[in-house]
Amino acid sequence: MASEATEFEAAFQELEECVAVLEEGGLTLEAALARFEQGMRLSSRCAAILDEAELRITRLQVDADAEEDDDEPAF
């Protein structure tokens, strides 16, 4: 189960990197365009993750040996 939080964090960090690189300047037009497009894609992905995320809840059986992954809906 891929973690939405992890994906968001990674995408957001990459997005910030794109912004930083573009703002620093010194890129050729082609390189800048590539970065720009990458950044826009990442920002769309981040926004989508945030919009679509739903809180998942797992209940553990504390005393048993095996854990249960109920994925029950919110309490």
């Binding site: 189960m1 891929a2 973690s3 939405e4 939080a5 992890t6 968001f8 964090e9 957001f12 997005l15 910030e16 794109c18 912004v19 573009l22 703002e23 300047g25 890129l27 037009l29 800048a32 365009l33 720009f36 950044g39 826009m40 920002s43 981040c46 926004a47 993750i49 945030l50 995320a53 739903e54 809180l55 998942r56 809840i57 797992t58 209940r59 553990l60 504390v62 005393d63 854990e67 992954d69 919110a74 309490f75």
Partner: protein, 430 residues
């Protein structure tokens, strides 16, 4: 029968006293008397008196520092410590580590003692407190599965940070069995590893734990002052937020936890970033991308314009025009120079011609002089002795030529230009 030295006897007595289970960890109630002024090294010496009994006490500096109210003569207190024999004076004394005014409840006494002990061990150390992760993937919650607490936490997280997964480990939060269940829940959350985790993710997949309890009677807080609970929180590799739900009083769990929250809802807010804030951050980043790009394009446009300008100035058309002008200029000057040279030559020619004409024999001839050529040799005759009488000469006049024969010659020319002929040969001259 054996004879002992004083020291041996004293040491034996001291050993007996120190190893006695009651005296090793004893609470004593009494009235303060013989309170010494604070010694140079910070230790406090006093006596506890009750009726006709008196107990010598010493409170060492590190524990004396923690006194919340200074000790006073006549004060009725409860002291905790261990008994020993002070050999040099042969006195039995209590090494106290805690002194509280009488009237403080037992629970409070135990709380203070435990707090002191754990603090000395370093469980509360600020350096040890771990920072909370910025983007937790899984949030563990140790609390009662029934009750409002879990609802509150889930509600807040659902609103703020639905990206996370909440892993709930149920445990009782009140009653005698609660400490054991809390310890078990914390351990379980620390060990949690979802079977479907991809390779590379760490075994402890929980990023932060909220240990929560709803409001309730203060007596029920005792669970969170339990030593085993405190040690379990300290041992947790995952950072723990305590949300014991009691605004003013701190429990020992609160001291050990990495972060203390006033309520479970606050804990949920501390643990996760706010969705709205994240959305804004994404939009802001987008905006910055666009601004940077627009600026860059603008900058490039400007550079292009400048370059075009410079190019135009250096263009072949411009150069050709300039060169053409230079060529015209030079041609003009060339013509002028040539014309001038020609004119100069002409002048000289004319001058020379005049000179020449002046020197020319024609003028002389026009004035009546004649050129005489020896017909035979063609040379000019300039002296009479060049020709013999009878020779033929051509006399060149201004106009025409005379073929003449020399009749006589004369050597000299008179100053007036007349010639005197030699007598031989007579002519028509007279």
């Amino acid at each position: 029968m054996r004879i002992f030295e004083v020291g041996e006897v004293m040491r034996h007595a001291r050993g007996l006293l120190e190893n006695d289970p009651l005296l090793a960890d004893v609470w004593v109630h009494g009235e303060i008397s013989s309170l010494s002024p604070p010694s140079a090294n910070g230790h406090v010496y006093f006596c506890l008196r009750e009726a006709s009994s008196q107990l010598n006490c010493v409170l060492f500096r590190k524990d004396a520092r923690r006194l919340r109210i200074p000790l006073e003569h006549g004060q009725s207190v409860i002291a905790h410590g261990c008994g020993t024999l002070y050999e040099p004076r042969s006195t039995f004394q209590l090494i106290a580590d805690l002194v509280e005014p009488e009237g403080v409840g037992l629970a409070q006494l135990q709380f203070e003692l435990l707090r002191q002990r754990l603090e000395d061990e370093g469980l509360f150390a600020p350096e040890r407190k771990r920072p909370l992760p910025a983007f937790p993937r899984r949030i563990g919650v140790a609390t009662s599965a029934t009750g409002a607490v879990i609802h509150d936490i889930v509600r807040v997280l659902g609103r703020r940070y639905p990206l996370a997964e909440v892993v709930v480990a149920h445990c009782a939060v009140q009653g005698d069995g609660a400490p054991r269940e809390i310890v078990a829940a914390l351990a379980r959350l620390n060990e949690y590893a979802a079977a479907r985790l991809p390779d590379g993710e760490q075994a402890s997949a929980i990023d932060v734990i909220i240990l929560a309890r709803g409001g309730g009677a203060p007596e029920e807080l005792a669970v969170f002052n339990d030593e085993a609970v405190a040690r379990a929180i300290f041992a947790s590799a995952v950072p723990v937020i305590s949300a014991i739900g009691h605004e003013t009083d701190y429990t020992i769990a609160d001291f050990v936890a990495d972060v203390r929250a006033a309520t479970p809802s606050v804990a949920a807010e501390l643990v996760a970033p706010d969705l709205a804030v994240l959305q804004d951050a994404v939009l802001a980043a987008r905006r910055r991308l666009v601004v940077s790009m627009v600026d860059l394009v603008q900058e490039q446009r400007q550079r292009l314009a400048v370059a075009q300008q410079r190019l135009a100035w250096h263009s072949p058309r411009g150069t050709i025009a300039r060169r053409r002008q230079e060529a015209d200029d030079l041609t003009q000057r060339l013509r002028a120079a040539v014309a001038q040279a020609v004119a100069a030559r002409r002048h000289r020619l004319e001058a020379r011609t005049l000179q020449l004409q002046a020197l020319s024999p024609s003028m002389t001839l026009a004035r009546g002089y004649a050129l005489c050529y020896d017909t035979a040799s063609g040379t000019v005759v300039t002296a009479a002795d060049q020709v013999a009488p009878g020779a033929l000469v051509d006399v060149r006049l201004h106009r025409g030529v005379l073929r003449s024969q020399v009749q006589a010659t004369a050597e000299l020319a008179l100053p007036n230009g007349e010639a005197r002929l030699a007598p031989a040969g007579d002519g028509q001259r007279g």
